[in-house]
Every structure is written in C-alpha cells, then in structure tokens.
C-alpha cells in the first residue's frame, strides 16, 4: 500500500465540494425565497451538471426555485445534481485509493430496473422531505418534524422500504432534538443536507427496488467488524476475505436490528448475534465455510446461517498479511456512491503513532493520518491504538482521509497481542462488558414486559 499517494489532493474533489457547499447553505434558510447568494449557489449547481444528461431538468429546477414555484420534481432534480457531484467525488477518491493499494475492482454490472413498491408510502416521505427543504433547517419546528412519525412507522413496517425508514428515523431524531431551528446555536450543514438528499433519492420510485442476488461459496476469513448505530437502529458489518475458486474477494456481511435509545454500547451486540453466527466466529477468530451464500453485485453477503458452518481458526492479522493485498474488491452500487460510503479494509504497519487530547495520528512515510471511529462497545481504546505497532482498519474520507481501526497489534503486559474493536460481537470477554450486556438484557426484558401488558390492548 502506497499511503503517500493519499497525501496529494484528488483532482476535482475540492471543486465538487465547493458547489455542494453552496447548495447546502441554501438549505439552511430553505428553498422558498432564495436571496442573491443562494441564487448564485443554485446556478452554480446547475452549471456543474450542464454537460451531463441531468442538464435540462436541473436547469429547469433551478429556474423554478429562483422563481419561488418549486415542486417535488424540482426538489428531486436538485438532489440528483448534488448526488451526481458527490458520486463523482466518491469515484475519484476510490480510484485513488485502489491505485494506492494496488487493488483491482470489478466493474458494476448492468442491472435491470426493478419494480416499484409502496408508492403511497414513498409519496408521503417525499412530501415531508419537500416541506423540510422549503422551511430550511432554520425554519423547522416541532409540528413539521413530528409529521415524519407516521411515514417512518409505515416505512419500517415494510421490509422493502426499511432502508428509507431507518434513515428518516435517525434524521428526524436529530431534527427533533434541535427543534426549533431558529434557536439552534450551530447547524450541521453538510450532514443534514447529506441525510436529506439521500432520503429524497431513496424515496424516488424504483430506488429501493430489490437488487439481483447471486450465490458464492468458499472459505470466509473475517478481518474486522464495523458498528453503526442511531437511537433506533444498530448494524454490524463484518469485513472479510472470501477465498473462492476464482481467487480471494473482499466481501461484507451485515446484520441489523431495531432498538431503542437506551440500548447502547456493549449492550447492542446481543440484539445482533442471534441472527448471524458470523459474529461469534469472528470473536473466536475462526473462518466459516460458505456454501451458496447469497451475495449482491456490490459484494454484500445476504447472510443466512443455513449457508455457513464453522471453520478452522483464522486470525485477522494473518488474513490481512497474506490475502488482503491480492483480494479483488466489489464495485459500489451507483445510488450508494458518496464519500461517506468509502470504508476500505487496509493493513497499516511501520507507522509512528502519536496521541494528543485523545486524537491519535499515525505517521507513515509521506502521510500523517488521523485515527477516527473508535466506539465504546468493545475493548479497543485510544491508548491501545496509540501504543500499537500494526493495524487492520477501514480507510474512510470525510473532508480528508481517516483511518478507523478494526483491530491493532499492541503490547499488553509486555506481550504483543491483537485487540479488536468488535471483540465482544460474540460475547463480552471482560467484567465491564459483561455487566453492560446484563444491564441491556434487563432493559429489553422490562420493555418486553411492558409491551406484553400494554401494546396489544
């Protein structure tokens, strides 16, 4: 891996972000009455896609917005332009990363357009998202935010539309906490524009159509597990190398569960591990033998315990050292292309680690990179990362490259051992973790008891 190649800026990324930043500022005051600066930003967005197939529709949307007669189709066109810019930035950053890692990546296959599910639910979501954009983040109030509740509940109950439901629920939770917008001390301009724009995309008919699924067989060697959570959802993604007849491939296996906001930290694993034996295998540092496991073109295994059985011991660092450099990566589905989606497994060695105010940095020849994304649901701490000598992590990008450690080799009691951020995926292995698990199990029990008495009446 040539980490020095990540130090130089990637052509066009800063320019794309400048245009996006202008548009995102428009959303702060809302799309209803753009002022001079906002008009210029909207025109810049139109200009940025003027030689693409989006040109006509975006130009019309910009014109209508400036004229104060914006409709839902115009909102969709503006979002398409913003998403195309960030999609292009994603592609350029990923190409640089692949070049630096010497990683080959399969091309995206042509996929047929899928059918439309739940159009009435999508329409309700689009309508709320348009109202939000018209009000602007400074214009949100409790009424407007609570209008999302019904749509969210209905989307979560429809498995095919769950992705949109989970996104809207997390987004609405943030809006709710900072309501009313007029008194917010600071506005998370990029983040809320991102979440809003992705929701508008997913609410378009066909965006959530089922993706074609193939199958794959071979020996699965876990590298590490990435954990995501918001108040009402948690997801673990295992990054792994799959040894197939055609050579090693990088794949991911996800498991997600709904939750409530008081279930946090080490307590969340128990919601997940019952649905995927892979979490236990990872904690034990074992491989799994897969037979005809469903897989998407994007390299996501659709995990089923019926297609997997426990295999031989397989240590993450050994997998990373032997197989990672030669593994083929999967392409990213077009609608998911956004720099936040970059999460590429890498092995990092030979760095000098430094820690200052809880921020750890690794200095490599030609690049100093910040460590980010540690969580409290496992035993990996900033101090252990700062003392480490090798790291399996995910390369990410949020305005600059970041490294999220999944596991490190670090001295503990004068012996070098591997410490994994997701070590407790299969079960907590120390007293504090076990206590947090027991407390969370107790919370679930209380809520289930309350639900049993009150919910079905």
């Amino acid at each position: 891996m040539r980490f020095d190649m990540l130090a130089a800026p990637v052509d066009g990324v800063a320019e794309a972000y400048d245009v996006v930043a202008g548009f995102d500022e428009v959303l702060v005051q809302g799309l209803l009455r753009p002022g001079t600066e906002q008009v210029a930003a909207l025109q810049a967005l139109g200009g940025a896609v003027s030689v693409t197939p989006l040109a006509g529709r975006v130009a019309e949307a910009v014109e209508k917005t400036i004229a104060g007669s914006i409709a839902e189709e115009h909102v969709a066109a503006l979002v398409a332009a913003r998403s195309a810019l960030l999609g292009a930035a994603h592609d350029a950053l990923l190409a640089r990363l692949d070049e630096a890692a010497g990683r080959s990546r399969e091309p995206w296959p042509v996929t047929p357009a899928g059918d439309v599910a739940g159009e009435n639910l999508l329409a309700a979501a689009r309508s709320w998202l348009s109202d939000l954009a018209i009000a602007g983040w400074r214009g949100i109030d409790h009424d407007l935010v609570s209008h999302a509740d019904q749509a969210v509940a209905a989307l979560l109950a429809e498995p095919r539309l769950r992705r949109l439901g989970v996104l809207l629920d997390g987004f609405a939770g943030e809006l709710r906490a900072w309501c009313p917008g007029a008194t917010m001390p600071r506005v998370p301009v990029r983040r809320w524009a991102d979440l809003w724009a992705r929701a508008v995309l997913l609410a378009q008919p066909g965006a959530l159509a089922p993706v074609p699924v193939g199958t794959v067989s071979g020996r699965l060697l876990p590298l590490g597990v990435d954990l995501h959570e918001h108040p009402t959802a948690v997801q673990a993604q295992v990054h792994a190398v799959l040894e197939t007849a055609d050579g090693p491939r990088l794949v991911r296996a996800s498991v997600s569960a709904p939750k409530v906001d008081t279930l946090v930290g080490p307590g969340v694993w128990q919601l997940l591990r019952v649905h995927s034996a892979l979490l236990g295998a990872y904690s034990e540092q074992r491989a799994m033998e897969l037979t005809d496991m469903p897989v998407t073109a994007g390299g996501d295994l659709i995990w089923s315990d019926a297609c997997a059985k426990a295999g031989e011991p397989a240590e993450s660092f050994a997998t990373a050292r032997v197989l990672l450099a030669g593994a083929t990566a999967a392409p990213v589905p077009p609608l998911e292309r956004h720099p936040v989606r970059l999460a590429e497994p890498v092995l990092v060695e030979g760095y000098a680690a430094a820690a200052q105010d809880d921020v750890v940095t690794f200095t490599l020849p030609g690049l100093t990179i910040e460590v980010d994304g540690l969580h409290s649901a496992g035993p990996l701490t900033p101090a252990l990362v700062a003392a480490s000598t090798a790291c399996v992590g995910l390369l990410r990008w949020d305005g600059r490259w970041l490294l999220q450690p999944l596991a490190v080799e670090t001295p503990v009691k004068r012996k070098t051992v591997a410490v994994h951020a997701g070590a407790w995926a299969g079960g907590a292995s120390d007293a504090a973790g076990a206590k947090a698990e027991a407390a969370a199990a107790d919370a679930v029990k209380v809520l289930r008891e309350r639900a049993g008495r009150l919910l079905r009446k």
Binding site: A177, D194, R198, V234, D261, V264, I302, D398, R400, L447
Partner: protein, 168 residues
C-alpha cells in the same frame, strides 16, 4: 507532512449532532423523551402492574400534565409537579445529561445542578390537564421497535451513523 486540516464541524458528513443516550434502569420509568416541545414519558405505577402514569412538561410555558393511561388524573398533583413528573425529570437527566434537558426546556439551572428535581425547581411548573394520549402513543411506538424483525440485508445509510459512545 502534517495531517490534513480537519474540516469544521459544519462541513463534516459524520459530524456528531447528538451524544448517545446513556443506559439506565427502566423498571420505574420505562420511557422518557424530549420531543414535540415537551419532556414527556411514562412512569410505572408502584401499586398496580397494569397501570402507568403519563406525564409531560411543556417547554413553551412550563405547564405540566399527569394522568393514568386510562385518563384518570394523578392524585398527587401539587404546585411545581408531582412525584411522577419528578421521577421522569430525574430519569431524563440520567438518560440525556442535565445540559441537554435544561437546553430543551430552556430552563435556567445552576452550574452545580445535577438532578431532574433541580430542573423542575428552576422552571416553576404549573398544572394544566391536557390529553395524555399522544404521549402514550409515543410510548407504544417506542415499544414497537423491539417487535420489528432484524435483517441481514445491508443498510448503506448507516454509514452516516458510526457507533460512538464514551470514546470521542
């Protein structure tokens, strides 16, 4: 070379907007939230396992409400609140931290304040019966999350929600 410059919070896709709620024991107060302009939630009755109290405190004018889920008024209402509202405020402080509760209620609490009771004293709550039903239905919605199925299909959008917690 030096580490690339950290972009400002406003320009980060994964900027942390909320600190995660803290775990707490749920037996007495199974549900508390800051929503719809209110501190609101549900307190289990000490005497009847089938009964819960629905309590809320409005941020706008500090009026409060407390009744059973069957809409019978709470018998313990005094000026400044009732025991259920106090329990609710205490648990809200455990779950969200006093700063977030005070900010949401726009309550002027002392820097040394640590409990929900102190938040209540700071706002001078006054009783005004309103409907408990919307709060109770928020609670039922909350409980319903645990009835929804898990899935092994990837949720790409959760890349915007990295797990956080005590560590940065």
């Amino acid at each position: 070379m030096n580490a690339a410059q950290t972009p400002p919070w406003e320009q980060r896709s994964t900027a942390r907007v909320l600190s995660p709620a803290r775990p707490r024991k749920l037996a007495k107060v199974p549900f508390v939230e800051l929503a719809d302009g209110r501190l609101q939630g549900v307190v289990s009755s000490g005497s009847d396992i089938e009964r819960v109290y629905v309590s809320s405190l409005t941020a706008k004018d500090y009026s409060f409400h407390c009744s059973t889920n069957n809409n019978r008024p709470c018998g313990g209402i005094r000026s400044g609140g009732c025991n259920h509202l106090r329990a609710l405020a205490d648990e809200a402080v455990l779950q969200y931290g006093i700063a977030r509760v005070a900010r949401y209620l726009r309550a002027d609490v002392a820097d040394s304040a640590t409990t929900g009771g102190e938040v209540l004293s700071a706002v001078n709550a006054w009783h005004q019966p309103s409907a408990g039903a919307p709060v109770f239905s928020r609670f039922l919605r909350h409980l319903a999350y645990l009835e929804l199925p898990a899935s092994t299909e990837p949720l790409a959008e959760l890349q915007w929600f990295p797990a956080g917690g005590a560590v940065r």
